[in-house]
Subunit: 191 residues, 2 copies
DNA sequence: GTCTATAATAGGATAGAC
DNA sequence: GTCTATCCTATTATAGAC
């Protein structure tokens, strides 16, 4: 409020992270080089190291952090919406996931990081991401009438189906596999 | 038959490929270096290039070839066993898969290659591997009483669950997720 | 078939000017 | 905050002796 140009354009770090996100989800950690990142962002190496002093590890961490934030704000929040019906919660999640994975055309960043090299440098974030997701699905089911045990089982099955269908959709180049799995997960969670 | 030492020890290429298999399934294509391979096999680079003149790409191709052969001899053959019951066929497959993935402790080489870099160098083999698997599961179900459409749907769901549970088991370091998915797949295919 | 040695290049990261 | 130039190491791959 004090100065007119205090609202000067903030660093486009968020846009850089978006590019990183797409690169890493497609190639995994070891499949993406700093040169690749430079080409994709239009930035030189020094600019990249200015934004991410820790280098490639920092970049991957930023991407996983963004993914976790996204899950928190788009999935967890919808699932735990107070007073919402189970149908509303589940449909919100599935709609968000459909967008994140572009209808089955794009991979899961957690899975790509898990399998794409990185020698365990990112495993904690990946584990935490899956755990948060799993926990909030189970809680949503428990809050809307299922027993805790049954909620946990169905939550596991839901994530298994999402992740598996992303793999198979990509391998067979058939996004309809993902689409049908979304429906199947819906039936599972609402049935 | 003609010479006594015709049966001299054949080149241990198969054992090399076994090591490569474990390396690539854990690190993906880009996560494994020639040095890593040298350490794991105890061979020098020149020996490796003697066995695989095309370099790392050849090594990955050999691994995917072995994986396809294994599926053909252990999974497809069991699934299409003439006269066998559906239960026999399915249990044979699940038992083989349980061994291949070490009860959920080890990843799928196809998935690792798919997500672990490699810039599309291996995608044809991966697609072919999944397609063969999917087709033979569907055929086994169709041969034992299901409609073709229903067989295809269940086959897709089975592979989705196997692959997804491998991802989640690894991410959460909980092989029981895989184990329970095997049971769930059994119910799906026999139900 | 395996080894030592050696290219040749790509990769990650830094220095310093602007 | 970005660029150019540079460094160092790892990496892929080859050559030639044994």
């Amino acid at each position: 409020m004090s100065r007119a140009n205090l609202a000067s354009p903030p660093p486009p770090r968020e846009m850089i992270v978006d590019k990183l996100f797409e690169l890493f989800r497609n190639g995994g950690f070891d499949g993406v080089s700093i040169s690749d990142i430079g080409n994709a962002t239009g930035l030189g190496k020094s600019s990249l190291y200015h934004h991410f002093p820790g280098g490639k590890g920092d970049m991957a961490a930023a991407v996983l952090g963004k993914a976790s934030d996204w899950f928190e704000s788009e999935v967890v929040k919808a699932l735990l919406e107070p007073g919402a019906s189970r149908e509303q919660r589940v449909d919100s999640m599935l709609s968000a996931l459909d967008g994140l994975y572009c209808g089955g055309a794009k991979p899961c960043i957690f899975a790509s990081m898990l399998l794409g090299g990185a020698e365990g440098r990112v495993n904690e974030s990946v584990t935490a991401g899956f755990r948060a997701w799993h926990k909030s699905v189970a809680r949503a089911l428990a809050e809307t009438g299922l027993s805790s045990a049954e909620a946990t089982v169905r939550s596991t099955s839901a994530i298994v189906q999402i992740e598996g269908s992303l793999i198979l959709s990509r391998a067979l180049e058939d996004p309809s596999i993902f689409k049908r799995s979304l429906q199947s997960v819906r039936d599972l969670l609402l049935g």
